[in-house]
Symmetry: C2
Subunit: 231 residues, 2 copies
DNA sequence: CCTACATATTAGGTTTACCTAATTCCAGGA
DNA sequence: TCCTGGAATTAGGTAAACCTAATATGTAGG
């Protein structure tokens, strides 16, 4: 990356920190620890401290940071983070819908391209796709004006009763898992019936009209989000 | 850019050097001076020397370089340069055909994205576009296997006689010029008749069936390439 | 209440790709 | 042949984003 005349604030790295803070903070936007950022970003804790100090010390800071007590996004930081997430999810949708990518591959490509597309590109693919509200994994796409729709769904892992649900979204991180989920028919919109659950073994479920039992490990159940079935 | 575990050789910067060497060397692949690279890339001559030494000194060098006598691409370097050019031109075509970009805007976006798309992305847009042989400016797209079709066209600036020609390609660099050319109907495939020429004033031409005279400055005539009209 | 241990920060390095300033090279005209 | 100006290279420096090792902090358990 060039050492341009006068620094341009939004590098790929900065974007990734902002996104990580956004996700780790959750909908309640709680403060995020350096450790959790270091883990998520795969960098040393010292690197996180450095970066946070830089971000917080900038002319118009992207984060609000106090030593030893974690970070939060500033209004500007949240704005930017949501823009990057919008890019990411629009690109994923585009790859899936227009370029016929297999669903497991969209995340990685989007993760790279999200930092480099222009406003125009964003606007054009959104138009081409008919301004979609969610991506192929079922995650909401932040609006053009930077609003993230409130998420009503809950993790499958929180379900304690048997019953029937609609799958709202699946995780996008792990290619392997995603491939297995796809093979079992666990995709957004499908109906999922919980037959047995157990905090160690995980969940035993069936999908759609099938009666075949599918086993879901607790870690995976954390990343599948569901809504109560309307029926 | 990360200081990853063990260096990955193809950074954005390296790609740009390789592309510049490819173009400045021309079809005859003549040696390229540091000065011309510095000018084209907008960096200091010292930076060029540094980079060339690094590229030439690598385990499998991308360039063949001797101090004070310029550089040439190695086979590997040419391979990579052509891959990047292929990316660039496929992306341009894609933006123009699928995303309805105005032609003046495709270059800038492609210039950024060319470094970050995967093989899969390349393959998918090529398929979507029906494996096009040239981009919207009329430039040939290197093949998947890294061959650049030989260019038979000549710069309009080389034309010394009056007569009728087919426009093969126009420059992609300058947004302003490209907009004017588009407005005058100077686009690949159009017929161009040279009515007057003069090394200082440039060319006076007419386009298609129109009789309106269009003036073309010598610098611009350098970047419009033409073929003899079949008729 | 105090200490141990995980978490966080500071200090000091590395790599990449740039920069400026100083020096060397070399080709072409006197 | 020599000399000179432009081109090229060397030397030394900066900023970004990472690293490791050393040190400090703060909270939870004894």
């Amino acid at each position: 990356m060039p050492a341009g005349r006068h620094a341009k604030s939004n590098t790929e790295s900065v974007d990734n920190y902002l996104k990580a803070i956004l996700f780790l903070g959750g909908q309640e936007e709680r403060r995020v620890t350096s450790k959790s950022l270091a883990d998520r970003l795969g960098v040393a804790p010292a690197s996180v401290t450095n970066m946070l100090q830089k971000l917080a010390g900038a002319p118009s800071p992207l984060v609000e940071y106090e030593r030893h007590r974690g970070v939060q996004l500033s209004a500007a930081g949240k704005q930017r983070a949501l823009e990057v997430v919008r890019h990411h999810r629009l690109i994923e949708t585009f790859l899936y819908e227009i370029l016929d990518y297999p669903i497991e591959e969209v995340h990685e490509e989007a993760e790279r391209l999200e930092h480099f597309i222009s406003e125009r590109f964003e606007e054009r693919i959104a138009a081409k796709l008919g301004h979609p509200r969610s991506d192929p994994h079922g995650h909401f796409i932040p609006t053009m004006s930077g609003e993230m729709p409130k998420q009503e769904s809950i993790p499958l892992a929180d379900v304690r009763s048997e019953g029937s649900f609609v799958i709202a979204s699946v995780s996008d991180k792990d290619v392997q898992t995603l491939r297995q989920l796809k093979a079992s028919g666990i995709t957004p919109g499908a109906t999922l019936r919980v037959k047995k659950h157990d905090s160690v073994e995980g969940y035993s479920v069936s999908i759609g009209h099938s009666t075949v039992a599918v086993e879901i490990a607790p870690a995976v159940a954390q990343d599948i989000r569901i809504l109560p079935s309307i029926e």
